[in-house]
Amino acid sequence: MKIKDRYEHRTYAHCETGTVTSLLRHHGLEISEPMVFGLASGMMFAFLPFVKMTGGMPIVAYRSIPKSIIGGIQRRLGVKFEVRKYRDEVKAMEDLSELVDKKQVVGVQASVFWLPYFPEEMRIPFNAHNIVIFGKENGEYLVSEPVIEETTRIKSQDLQNARFAKGIMAPKGFLYYPTYIPEKIDINSLILKSIKRTNFMMLGAPAPCGVRGIFYLANYLEKLGGKKSEKYIRSLLGHITLMQEEVGTGGGGFRYMYAAFLEEAYERLEMPILQDAYRKMTEAGTLWRNFALVCARTFKRKDSEIDLPHIANLLRMAGNAEKEVHLMLRKIS
């Protein structure tokens, strides 16, 4: 491992792939964010109407569950992360302080609710956010936050609160940093394996997940009219947009990021099928964005008509485009 002297801050689209990428880059493995996302098979879709989030909204996820990127990248690349969880809050902070004093750059899971540098409107109780701690000055930790342009600082007490927030997906002081990176990593040979895995996850998963989940959501939306109040439908559509475009996804609910991965794969492997695939994936991403746009419009204009069949059709178009890509990619593996 060739560890760099200075930590270099950059913004990333997504918190987990962002922190993992910046940790790997700091430890001498030049890799892009879409590559990490693709290799760890981060793309997924899930719509779980029976699990409610804050505000009574169902879970709509555009990627695999939190922490799967850290696990997936270890399995795929053969890199090793030291992963720690704590019960004792004081010990957790002491350990972090010790690591930071040794100039170790550490990824930390934190709750957005307790991070003071975010705008107040954003501080929702979401526990699976990831940040990088890369130093300590005057009792304050230096934070590299993937969605803020410059590095920020956080007080020790605030960080402790954020690391030990309670609730679903509680961080429990979760911290991680790479300890071993193989001398030679042949990324090219791993790409096809990862594509195959993503394919399997998207096409093979049962109804509320994968491609089937997209059509399930479409049907669900279509049948919603008359069953629920107008206010609920509008805020559900707003919630879907929020999950797809506003929490860091790289646009189009990770679809653009996956297309960027396919493009990089094409540049490395030069298989024509990958070129077609990444162009098609871009189209799918654009369709997703169209869908989100109509949802957002319905949410914002309270007096407009709710055209649920139209919205459901837009979603089906996005789903079909995505399904086509996965069916196409199935041939290579």
């Binding site: 689209a13 409107e121 109780p125 309670k166 506003e246 790289g250 162009r279």
Partner: protein, 137 residues
């Protein structure tokens, strides 16, 4: 400062805080290659703000109830800090029905200081702000 000025001030500080945020978006350029760009507060359709505003509206409603002594400050601060009963109950580590009991003014008055301290920590206010209700704490 008048109320209107305060509101205007809040709006300005809100915007400056949002300006530091940069949503990275993957986009195709003219040659069909992927690059990363940023979406800012100005051109990004911020959905988060209307969502937060919905909570603030709720908080305003509850505030009237608190002043009429029909509800407790806990309910007000819960909505003010973008929490709902489920999220707050999880953060406090107790059942939702127990939390909702604390919304009753009579029950709230009997809460001991330790419990109030726990609430105050989550709401980021002083205990006194809870006891003698101060809305903008």
């Amino acid at each position: 400062m008048t109320t209107e000025e305060v509101k205007q001030n809040q709006l300005v500080t809100r915007e400056t805080r949002w300006k530091t945020m940069a949503w990275t978006i993957y986009e195709v350029d003219d040659q069909g290659k992927y690059k990363t760009t940023f979406e800012r507060y100005d051109d990004h359709l911020v959905m988060t703000v209307p969502f937060a505003d919905a909570f603030q509206e709720k908080a305003e409603e509850v505030k009237q109830n608190v002043l009429r002594n029909e509800s407790s400050p806990i309910e007000y601060f819960m909505y003010k800090r973008l929490l709902d009963p489920k999220a707050l109950a999880q953060a406090m580590g107790m059942a939702v029905w127990r939390l909702k009991r604390h919304f009753k003014p009579n029950v709230f008055k009997k809460l001991d200081r330790k419990k109030l301290q726990e609430y105050a920590k989550i709401f980021k206010v002083q205990v006194d702000d809870l006891i003698n209700f101060r809305e903008d704490a």
